[in-house]
């Protein structure tokens, strides 16, 4: 297995684990909030599914962006640095995506609450 494949797999597994953790942590609260605000089960379902898709695709994009210049016989810490650099990108993307989602939820909350 080439160093690039090892880095790719490590970043893929780590990104998926982190995204699943974030999804698990946020989902119950998000569901409660959406149920209260939108008062339409289909809309709650849509926003939750959209959230899951976004999180999965961010993890996928982060792993696919992995391309390190590691040579055969690279040392352990070189692998760690390569993975850390990719994870930094993954977190950056996740941060941007969560920011957009929070913005969207705020607009949803503000506009629909006012109408209630």
């Amino acid at each position: 297995m080439s160093p690039n494949s090892i880095t790719f797999l490590a970043v893929l597994v780590l990104s998926i684990l982190i995204m699943v953790l974030i999804d698990r942590l946020l989902r119950p609260a998000l569901r409660g909030l959406l149920e209260q605000v939108v008062a339409l089960p289909a809309a709650t379902e849509f926003y939750l599914r959209a959230f899951a898709i976004v999180v999965v695709f961010v993890a996928l994009a982060a792993a696919l962006g992995t391309h390190s210049d590691l040579k055969d016989g690279a040392r352990f810490m070189e692998y760690v640095w390569a993975i850390a650099a990719r994870l930094q990108e993954a977190f950056q993307n996740l941060f941007a995506v969560l920011l957009v989602y929070v913005g969207l939820s705020t607009v949803l909350l503000a506009t629909l609450r006012r109408r209630q």
Binding site: L40, L64, H67
Partner: protein
């Protein structure tokens, strides 16, 4: 497998995978979206909106795939592209990455469409409430 053979096979396989990703996202979102659209706009318009969702998601995925250039917009020759297998793999990864990026952007856009549908639904409900 020669690099040229790999280039041809991987291009079409990755293209197909990208399209399948777009269709998969559409299928995941279709049922709740159709219900929202029907509640907000009625059956006929909801069908149009649901089809638009499908076309949009597939187009976003295809756009992501097509936005990656093997020759870096004409800066590299075909021979230089084919010479390096690592480069070919990297481009395939980039194609899938762009597909994911464009799909995420499209999903966010449709979240806004749903918000507008919900607002329309609320307005209609408020009007009905005022009349009674």
């Amino acid at each position: 497998m020669s690099n040229e053979h790999y280039l041809i096979v991987s291009y079409f396989v990755v293209g197909l995978v990208s399209l399948c990703l777009g269709i998969a996202v559409y299928r995941v979102l279709r049922t709740p979206f159709a219900a929202i659209a029907e509640a907000a706009t009625g059956r006929l318009r909801s069908r149009v909106l649901t089809r638009a969702l499908g076309i949009f998601m597939t187009l976003a995925a295809a756009l992501g795939f097509l936005s990656v250039s093997y020759t870096e917009k004409g800066c590299m020759s075909y021979e230089a592209v084919v010479k390096n297998r690592d480069y070919l793999v990297q481009v395939n990864q980039q194609q899938l990455q762009r597909t994911a990026d464009w799909t995420v952007a499209a999903v966010f856009l449709w979240c806004v469409v749903v918000l507008i549908c919900l607002l329309a639904l609320r307005s209609a409900q408020a009007d009905r409430h005022d009349k009674t």
